[in-house]
Amino acid sequence: MELNILAFGIAKDIFGAPSVIVNLDEGADTATLKTLLETQYPRLKQLASYMVAVNNEYAQDENSISERDEVAIIPPVSGG
């Protein structure tokens, strides 16, 4: 399936765009998506952690994703 991934914060810089499209097997889990993204964008892995939100819910590694889902990558933010 083609999945559109929304980027927040520093993820926009890492992806070089406010959203990117990735190819993933239908029903793949969040861990698989993270591995794929981290391979394509090694800086993402260097953050140490970031949130994957699916349909505005925090996605655990084992949650599966389908084509209709809205997926967002939300990295940590430090500024104050």
Binding site: I10, A48, Y50, E57, Y58, P76, V77, S78, G79, G80
Partner: protein
């Protein structure tokens, strides 16, 4: 109605906001950590609304580049301690409340003691180390944290570690981000921040504090709000009802060795130090004081540049990024001597 409550009459006219709600505010003790972009507006509104005891924790001094978003300070305050200036200003705004400045840096040694006399902690810090320290200490002490963070045009708000009916606790910052590599996430002095975003997020934090104290409304519990000032869109992400973390101890705050601008100038004359600029290319183009140039997020990939028999002084604009570089070096190359230029180039240029 007490006579001195005329000040609060317009909030006491609210549905669900009783005289008892105002008394709850008056008896509440809130610690604001970071009197910067988030802490300034939050403190203003918490003082205005009559929170009885307001602690302001910040060890930093007002600098010129703060003034575009840290609205409690005037150019005349540059160089003065933020906590002192903020408390003086807020005391004028509301003489009926108690203001407590905390000028010591919050570390693993003092954090439990500092938060002990407060009911709620407002996290307006500008670095991950303080955010994790506050979070973990608040979890250990069983106190809620009202979290806010900003970068460029985007902000986050949440309320951590609230009690659930069954005795468990709602999620905290480590449910969202278990740990962060601070050298990989730019702060506001690198990526910039729009001042109005600081105002919006800081006021949202104050709003959650008031709701938390007065037990009104629906808190951002088990949720995080994301706000984008460019599009004015916001969304609320559900995290869960119960924390999955198991925080048992604080991470020990690392001491960062620093040199002052005066010491550095002397040392450079005697050829003691090798300088390392960790700022961006753009900042380097405008002005530099020489040495190697390795941007903070590239330091980890360039550890082979550092030699055991040399002494390095890292520098950036304020001392924040160079401090992160020194921490990284101490961890990865414990044999190399590394210092951070205290106060960064801002301090260098004043001397």
């Amino acid at each position: 109605m007490q006579d001195d409550w005329l000040r609060y009459s317009c909030q006491m006219a609210l549905p669900g906001f009783e005289a008892s709600s105002q008394a709850l505010l008056q008896n509440a003790r809130v610690l604001i950590v970071g009197a910067g972009g988030l802490g300034c507006p939050a403190a203003q509104y918490l003082a205005a609304s009559g929170v009885g005891t307001l602690g302001i924790a910040d060890f930093d001094e007002v600098s010129v580049s703060n003034l575009h978003r840290q609205i409690l300070y005037n150019p005349a305050d540059v160089g003065r301690l933020k906590a002192e200036v903020a408390c003086a200003r807020l005391q004028q705004q509301n003489p009926g409340i108690k203001l407590v400045p905390h000028m010591a840096k919050i570390t693993s040694t003092n954090v439990i003691q500092v938060i002990d006399s407060y009911d709620i902690i407002l996290d307006g810090a500008d670095n991950f180390e303080t955010r994790y320290l506050l979070n973990d200490a608040a979890v250990l002490a069983g106190k809620p944290v009202v979290y806010g963070a900003i970068y460029q045009y985007e902000g986050q708000v949440a309320v951590w570690n609230l009690p659930n009916a069954d005795g468990s606790r709602s999620p905290n910052y480590r449910d969202l981000y278990p740990q962060v590599n601070a050298t990989q996430v730019p702060n506001c002095s690198v990526g910039g921040v729009i001042p109005t975003l600081a105002g919006i997020i800081g006021c949202m934090q104050a709003n959650e504090v008031i709701k938390c104290i007065t037990q009104t409304g629906e808190l951002l519990k088990g949720k995080v709000l994301l706000f984008d000032a460019q599009t004015m869109q916001s969304r609320v992400i559900k995290i869960g009802d119960v924390t999955q973390t198991n925080i048992k101890a604080l991470e020990i705050t690392e001491h960062i060795p620093t040199v002052t601008a005066v010491e550095l100038k002397e040392g450079l004359n005697e050829d003691t130090y090798t300088l390392v600029d960790v700022r961006t290319d753009q900042e380097r183009d405008e002005f530099d004081i020489g040495g190697l140039h390795i941007e903070l997020d590239e330091v980890e990939d360039n550890l082979q540049e550092f030699e055991d028999d040399k002494t390095y002084v890292f520098y950036c604009s304020s001392g924040k990024r160079s401090g992160e570089a020194v921490k990284l070096l101490k961890q990865k190359l414990p044999g190399v001597k590394a210092y951070s230029l205290k106060g960064g180039l801002q301090e260098w240029n004043l001397n």
